[in-house]
Amino acid sequence: MSELNLNEDQQDCLQEIINVAMGQASDQLARYLDTFVYLKVPSIEQVSTLSLIETINKNEKSVAVVSQGFFGYEGIRGEALLMYQPKDSDRLADLLGYEPDELSVEEQIIDLSSILTTTFLNVFAKQIDNQMSYSAPRLLAGSQTAISDHLAQQSFNWDLALKVKITYQVTDYSFNCDMVLLIPESAINNIKAVIDRILEEF
């Protein structure tokens, strides 16, 4: 498995790009939900397939995972996984502005995940002079094994997992989710090139 071997400057640059993306995405989300979003600094770490699968299996309650493919120019592409414990699911509909029985739990999770993923990646892309397109978001089958299987299969397509831990607190309702960006090797090199280009400006 490849490693995104970033030196301190490159790591710092990536963190900053993600911070700004997170900040803007949160603002858009907040205005869409008509509320205030408490933002914590997103932590970034590289994870291996194995540890990712372990994290999923470690959770006693079944984890909800929504997967969405993204692709931009210069070969920057991958799969975004949003993983979270769905609690208070009837409040999600309320949060998104729907009546509770207007849409199913699955649809609520998918909608919310899609908003988080696309707004974040759009802002991220803009900062690196890129533009993203997306595939339809999918809710992966609920069981632990199905998710682990999916990841194991996917590991042929990607080599690196960047886990961006997002914690959102929306006024009196808080939910956490982990966003994991699965990126193939070719894209890793492209991202490094972009980071270096940005650093050169300094």
Binding site: C13, N19, M22, G23, S26, A30, V41, L199, F202
Partner: protein, 121 residues
């Protein structure tokens, strides 16, 4: 006339971005802080004319710094530069004594404009 400037941000890149965006005609004496606590310590021991402050930082965050400076009546001209751009946040920092709120990534002309309107250029 030379201004003493403190740039407080946990990101090295962000700090560089601020310095690089300062207008050339402005003569500055710059120092850096990597988190809110460092900034407060520096501000207590020296006088600074301008503070550029990030919000999301470890140890002591931007709001914490603003509150501390307000309580201790330390008054550099504070410009908040942050990724968290929600309107509520912007209002809050102004209430706590910041002169202006700038969104990241900081732009040369925006910074220029703000420094001008607060009498530094």
């Amino acid at each position: 006339m030379s201004f003493s400037v403190l740039v407080c941000d946990d990101s090295n890149m962000a700090r560089k971005q601020v310095l690089r965006s300062l207008p050339e005609q402005l003569s500055v004496n710059a120092q850096l802080a990597t988190n809110g606590q460092e900034a407060v310590d520096l501000l207590r021991s020296q006088k600074f004319d301008i503070l550029f402050l990030d919000l999301t930082m470890p140890v002591l965050d931007g709001l914490g710094v603003l509150q501390t400076l307000k309580d201790e009546n330390i008054t550099p001209a504070i410009f908040v530069i942050s990724a968290d751009i929600q309107p509520e946040m912007q209002t809050k920092v102004i209430e706590l004594g910041a002169k202006a709120f700038l969104r990241k990534p900081v732009q040369l002309d925006v910074l220029n404009q703000n420094l001008k309107s607060h009498g530094f250029i």
